[in-house]
């Protein structure tokens, strides 16, 4: 996914549209903060989430935390590659390291999320 086309949350998830499906991942900033990622507990396909609900759990050598749903939707697919090789989230957070795909996302929900520029400001503590 191209980072400049994505929408971002304050909890450092990204979401982007790919045809009829929305892809969710964590940002490059988030993976840097987490350090080496050791495990991602993925959501089961078919499960529905509201925006802000805990979608997945991510563990790094430093910490364990939740990945929240950037928007409501139903899990269409989880990234099995991440389960086997969690380090790809560090290596390629916007590409091979995606977390899951959601269907049924209401695109207007994404309007509440930050754009790439807004997120860049957010992660630089307001300075750009």
């Amino acid at each position: 996914m191209k980072p400049e086309t994505l929408r971002y949350t304050k909890e450092h998830e990204w979401i982007g549209q790919d045809g009829a499906i929305w892809v969710v991942g964590i940002t490059d900033y988030a993976q840097k903060q987490l350090g080496d990622i050791t495990y991602v507990e993925l959501p089961k396909p078919g499960k529905s989430f509201n925006a802000g609900e805990s979608l997945a759990v991510i563990e790094s050598v430093k910490v364990a935390g939740d990945i929240y749903a950037p928007a409501g939707g139903t899990v269409a697919e989880s990234n099995a590659a991440v389960e086997k090789s969690p380090e790809i989230v560090n290596q390629d957070p916007y590409g091979r390291g995606w977390i899951c795909k959601l269907s049924g996302v209401v695109s207007t929900e994404l309007d509440k999320l930050m754009t790439a520029d807004q997120y860049a400001v957010f992660t630089s503590g307001g300075r750009k």
Partner: protein
């Protein structure tokens, strides 16, 4: 624990720091009717007076009974080395090994314990231990519900009634649908058990040998559970695994056990040992501490607490469990015991228990009016049908110097005349003979 003095001067100092004038002022917010009006504690005794008093009281316990009582807790021989090693302060006073650089000994002991438990149960990963067999079974039920996202549990009534009570007590305020499957002739009602398993079940909980000492091979039940996406939890008697098919070989997902039989003395209320093991697939959902082996910067083997992100000091309310300790000293005893016996020793121990129990069945079955229940194979515990109330017989047998067994009527309706008898390797042919004679005289004296 040292005596910590609490002098008037210290109390005054503490009150002044808090800013209260007196103890009464400190407790002013507690309503008067909620306060204790004074404790009924007699004035002090000298050390010798106290020793004599407690010593006299202890004689009111039934002493030195020859033990034929089991029900999950067994009178096995404990090699003297276990006590001797346990009393080493390196084990006895060790604190939680949060600092691996200062706790390699403790961590290695736990790692070796986990390894031994995995080999005994045929599972991939064990935790550092839980409190006892009952709490381990509760944790297994919760773990199965976390993994499956389901709320129904199929519970075999061959599972210890003590454990079942604990399960119900711990989960009283959770909406869990427990379905108990009846026992028929000491064994799981196979058809009912298989039919009860469906896509809504989180777990089926089994015990082998079951509370009646009956041995089963649950491979078919486990396979059916897996067909329905349901977890199979098996509670075991560790010593029996020296000769019985392991729960791992049956395909179990979670194995729990009371570890008392592995080198822990029988004591009223413990401390005992909760054993828990699972497959690699589910290790991240397993509660409790886990010790892992690793290498340090110079390539030397080292041990650390691992997968801690599942635990509550990191995950807070989202942790796998609120378990926040383990029975490290009891686990150390268990690994000492297993190491001293070894693979062959554990096998011989199990065979001895089983053979002596079979001998006892033959001997006790010759008593008039006593029937040995033989509808299913047993390990070292079996049921006797007596001509009168088993609880009364147990009382009479204490006078003869025997803990005769467990009166099943206490937990199973309609079984008032049934006695559950356990035989360990410690029981000699003579003791079994004397037990039979005592039982005969108690039943037919008048």
């Amino acid at each position: 624990m040292p005596f910590i003095a609490n002098t008037d001067a210290q109390r005054a100092e503490m009150l002044s720091v808090i800013g209260a004038g007196s103890i009464d002022e400190l407790f002013a917010d507690i309503p008067a009717d909620c306060r204790i009006g004074g404790l009924n504690i007699p004035s002090g005794m000298s050390e010798t007076e106290l020793y004599d008093k407690i010593h006299r009281m202890s004689h009111r316990n039934a002493h030195n009974l020859v033990c034929f009582l089991g029900c999950g807790f067994y009178d096995h021989f404990i090699p003297a080395a276990v006590d001797d090693l346990t009393r080493r302060s390196e084990f006895y006073t060790a604190y939680t090994p949060y600092q691996p650089e200062a706790s390699q000994g403790t961590l290695q002991t736990i790692f070796e314990y986990q390894t031994a438990i995995c080999r005994l149960t045929g599972m991939d990963a064990a935790n550092a231990s839980l409190y006892d067999g009952g709490t381990a079974l509760y944790e297994a039920a919760m773990m199965a519900m976390r993994i499956t996202g389901r709320k129904k549990i199929i519970l075999d009534t061959g599972v210890s009634p003590i454990y079942r009570k604990m399960l119900f007590c711990y989960t009283r305020n959770l909406s869990i649908d427990f379905q108990e499957i009846e026992i028929v002739h000491g064994q799981t009602d196979r058809k009912k058990m298989l039919d009860s398993l469906d896509e809504t079940c989180a777990a089926v909980i089994l015990q082998n040998p079951n509370f009646f000492g009956v041995v089963d091979d649950f491979t078919d039940v486990v396979a059916r559970a897996h067909e329905k996406g349901c977890m199979a939890v098996v509670s075991v008697y560790p010593v029996s695994l020296g000769m019985l098919k392991s729960p791992g070989a049956m395909g179990a997902d979670i194995v729990t056990a009371e570890g008392q039989s592995l080198g822990l003395p029988l004591s009223f209320g413990g401390p005992y040992l909760g054993i828990m093991a699972t497959s690699s697939e589910h290790v991240r959902k397993m509660p409790g501490r886990i010790v892992g082996a690793t290498t340090d910067m110079r390539g030397r083997t080292g041990y650390v607490l691992t997968l801690q992100a599942r635990e509550q000091h990191i995950r807070r309310e989202k942790a796998m469990s609120n378990i926040c300790s383990n029975e490290a000293l009891c686990a150390a005893r268990a690994v000492m015991y297993m190491s001293l016996l070894g693979r062959e020793g554990l096998r011989e121990l199990a065979v001895l228990c089983a053979k002596k129990a079979e001998y006892a069945k033959t001997r006790l079955g010759r008593i008039k009016g006593v029937e040995v229940k033989k509808s299913a194979p047993t390990f070292n515990e079996f049921t006797l049908a007596l001509p009168r109330d088993a609880g009364d017989v147990v009382n009479d047998m204490i006078e003869k110097g025997f803990a005769a067994g467990f009166p099943l009527g206490r937990y199973y309706r309609g079984m008032d005349n049934y006695l559950l008898v356990a035989v360990t390797e410690k029981r000699t042919r003579e003791e079994i003979g004397m037990f039979a004679e005592a039982l005969e005289s108690v039943l037919w004296a008048n």
